[in-house]
């Protein structure tokens, strides 16, 4: 009955699994690298730009997943922290104003403004956290929602930094004279902007994903999951509830800030309407569809919500009929993801990643059947049916050992 197990018991990892452990997972990594390689060299600019957007979204989804997925604190405020990151990037990295009335810029290096975007968002998170985290459940959701409105008000009115409602330019990453904003050669190979961004994002997303994956298995990560599953129990086991939540809030804000800076830097421009509640809800959808409390789930979810609709639109893969009646593919995909949120929550709370795990378990079971009757029987045991990551693969051996006197 894995479908009925709530989000709470989705991950209770017993021991850290080693990276590429089995031949199958090694094969998966190789296939993934090949696929990315093909997309990178042969995909063409349109595909790459879609992929780039999804990768930036994946960073923010990871951030949201830290707070809402691992630590279980509802947040609709991610758009606020992303906006902060974007404007910090614009302020620190942007060029000095040409005309009076232009937003300020300090012309600093990319190596300063990108981390700064995360750090400022994290500091704001640390300032807001103590107030917001006093509240739980619905109340926290409503307060973070208020944050988005307050953010939009600030973004419209702090004209010297944000450029007001006309918006402002956001710098593109550059190292000295080498800029990611225009085609440039690396080691003699000519790369397009989208390819350069892809390489950069691969590094940033990779770092973020490894960081979140590792911290989720650390003491701090386990504390988050304990807080999410049962606050009283966590507190009895010695978890400091407030500091665990604060850590999640700050880390989540940091990642959101970084993602916001990149999100605005990619098109090179931002205005306050971009950082609305709709954006927050899209990220929540990405997290839920991909997989709550899962790194791969965040990435899959971001691709699902942010890449697939654009891909459908760009390559007009939708039936002609739909576009003739005036229904845009944007509307269709919005309905689609709205419905998917409901469907996944009702039937597979662990998201896409849960579906994949389920599929893997079926494969495992089939394999075991082929190996022989006895082990197949035990593999059907409830331990595998449940959503736990603990996979008991050698059950017979444990069963056969006599209980200690």
């Amino acid at each position: 009955m894995s479908a009925d197990v709530p989000v709470s018991s989705a991950t209770a990892q017993a021991a850290p699994r080693r990276l590429p452990g089995t031949s199958r997972s090694r094969g998966g990594v190789v296939a993934g690298v090949l696929l990315l390689g093909v997309a990178f060299f042969l995909g063409g600019d349109q595909w790459l730009s879609i992929l780039d957007t999804a990768m930036i979204a994946a960073i923010a989804t990871l951030g949201l997943n830290v707070l809402s997925g691992y630590a279980g604190q509802i947040s609709l405020g991610i758009a606020f922290f992303m906006g902060i990151g974007a404007y910090v990037a614009g302020w620190l990295g942007g060029s000095a104003p040409l005309f009076p009335g232009d937003p300020n810029g300090m012309n600093l290096s990319f190596l300063i403004w990108l981390p700064a975007a995360g750090i400022v968002a994290a500091v704001l998170g640390a300032l807001i956290g103590p107030t917001a985290l006093r509240l739980k459940g619905f109340y926290l959701g409503i307060v973070t929602l208020a944050l988005v409105f307050i953010g939009q008000y600030l973004f419209v009115n702090v004209h010297t930094i944000t450029g007001g409602s006309q918006g402002r330019a956001i710098p593109q990453p550059a190292l000295g004279s080498f800029t990611f904003g225009s085609p440039n050669p690396i080691l003699g190979l000519q790369f397009t902007t989208n390819q350069l961004y892809f390489l950069l994002l691969l590094v940033v997303l990779g770092l973020a994903a490894i960081f979140v994956a590792n911290i989720a298995r650390s003491r701090a990560g386990r504390a988050w999951q304990a807080v999410r599953d049962n606050e009283v129990a966590a507190s009895i086991m010695g978890v400091n509830l407030f500091s665990a939540k604060m850590r999640a809030f700050v880390l989540s804000s940091f990642l959101a800030g970084i993602a916001g800076a990149l999100w605005a830097s990619y098109p090179g421009y931002t205005d306050p309407t971009q950082w609305s509640l709709v954006l927050s809800i899209e990220f929540v959808a990405a997290m839920l569809i991909g997989g709550v409390a899962s790194v791969w789930g965040s990435i899959l979810g971001a691709v699902f919500v942010f890449a697939i609709p654009t891909a459908l639109e760009t390559f007009s893969l939708l039936p002609q009929k739909a576009s003739a009646t005036g229904i845009s593919s944007g509307d269709l995909s919005t309905i689609f993801y709205g419905a998917l949120i409901i469907v996944f929550l009702l039937f597979e709370p662990a998201g896409l990643i849960g579906l994949i795990r389920r599929f893997q378990r079926i494969l495992l079971r089939l394999e075991a059947r082929r190996e022989g009757g006895e082990s197949a029987q035990t593999l059907d045991s409830p331990a595998l049916e449940s959503n736990f990551d603990v996979e008991i693969t050698r059950l017979p051996r444990h069963l056969e050992t006599p209980p200690s006197e």
Binding site: I74, F138, Y139, A146, V284, D331, I341, L346, P349
Partner: protein, 299 residues
């Protein structure tokens, strides 16, 4: 002084709209401890359907209203029956997200149905019909809003106080298990709560839309302003929803009216965030609101 009274009256009418929306939240929350984030789209959908019924099918306002209210009530029951009932026992996070999913679906359906059109607001009176007393203009539609809110409050009071199901709902709100033990069908109570809330949403949506000659998909955003109202009044208090709604409406209208002269210092759109600032203040000082039940929750 005239300005003040004019704003006070406008705020009262606006506040009645918020109160109707807030009632929708509170009734559901009282019965099942769920906050319905799709409430805004219920009222958008309701206003949209009533608009079609009135202007395309040429129904009388009252019939159109009853039709729209019945439709949103039915939608509420269906959603409660087929989605929320499966979610019983799940953390609030998952439940909020299901209602947000419904919110997204409903909003997009209405967006597609509208296309580029701006439907006329269904209203009992013409948009500009009003009379003037001592320099203060009183639009008929705003008066109708206030009257409708009073009628609905009285009807709800009567329902909760004197009917069998009203009693069942109050009992369920106090103690679900005890209610079950005396033979109350909780599932029916929940369905009823969603139905009432859906119907009230449509009525709120109509009167909210009647402030302007036409409306668009942003109508549902008013529900987001009703959040401060329910927090101020207390999530689980019907009286609180009405008082909170009216208070937030007046605060909102006053802030809007007076901040026009202060754009230099306060910036553009300050009035939009005033209800939220009030809400944050309330949450810090008195998180259970003015009339809410004080919950003891210590960890």
């Amino acid at each position: 002084m005239t300005t003040f009274i004019q704003l006070l009256f406008g705020g009262l009418a606006q506040g009645c709209d918020f109160a109707l929306i807030a009632l929708g939240f509170t009734i559901i929350f009282k019965a099942s401890e769920v906050i319905n984030f799709a409430q805004g789209e219920f009222l958008l959908l309701g206003a949209f359907v009533v608009s079609i019924a009135m202007f395309s099918w040429h129904l009388n306002f009252v019939f159109a209203l009853v039709f729209g209210a019945a439709l949103t009530a039915a939608l509420g029951i269906v959603f409660q029956r087929y989605a929320l009932r499966r979610m019983i026992g799940q953390p609030p996070f998952a439940i909020i997200m299901v209602t947000i999913g419904l919110n997204v679906v409903l909003l997009t359906i209405v967006t597609i149905a509208l296309g580029a059109k701006f439907p006329r607001s269904p209203a009992p009176f013409g948009f500009s019909a009003h009379f003037t007393v001592g320099g203060i203009s009183l639009p008929y539609n705003q008066l109708a809003t206030i009257a409708a809110t009073l009628i609905i409050c009285a009807a709800l009071y009567g329902f909760f106080r004197y009917t069998r199901y009203g009693l069942a709902m109050r009992a369920t709100a106090i103690d679900q298990e005890a209610a079950l033990a005396v033979g109350i069908q909780i599932s029916r109570v929940h369905a009823l709560a969603w139905a009432i809330s859906g119907a009230v949403a449509t009525i709120g949506g109509i009167f909210l839309a009647s402030n302007n000659p036409t409306f668009d998909v942003s109508l549902g955003n008013a529900a987001l302003v009703a959040f401060p109202a329910i927090i101020l009044g207390g999530l689980d208090s019907i009286l609180g929803a009405v008082v909170g709604g009216v208070a937030i409406g007046i605060i909102y209208e006053m802030a809007q009216g007076y901040s026009v002269h202060l754009t230099k210092t306060l910036g553009i759109g300050f009035y939009v965030i005033v209800p939220y600032l009030v809400m944050i203040l309330v949450l810090l000082i008195r998180p259970y609101g003015l009339f809410g039940t004080r919950k003891v929750e210590r960890v």
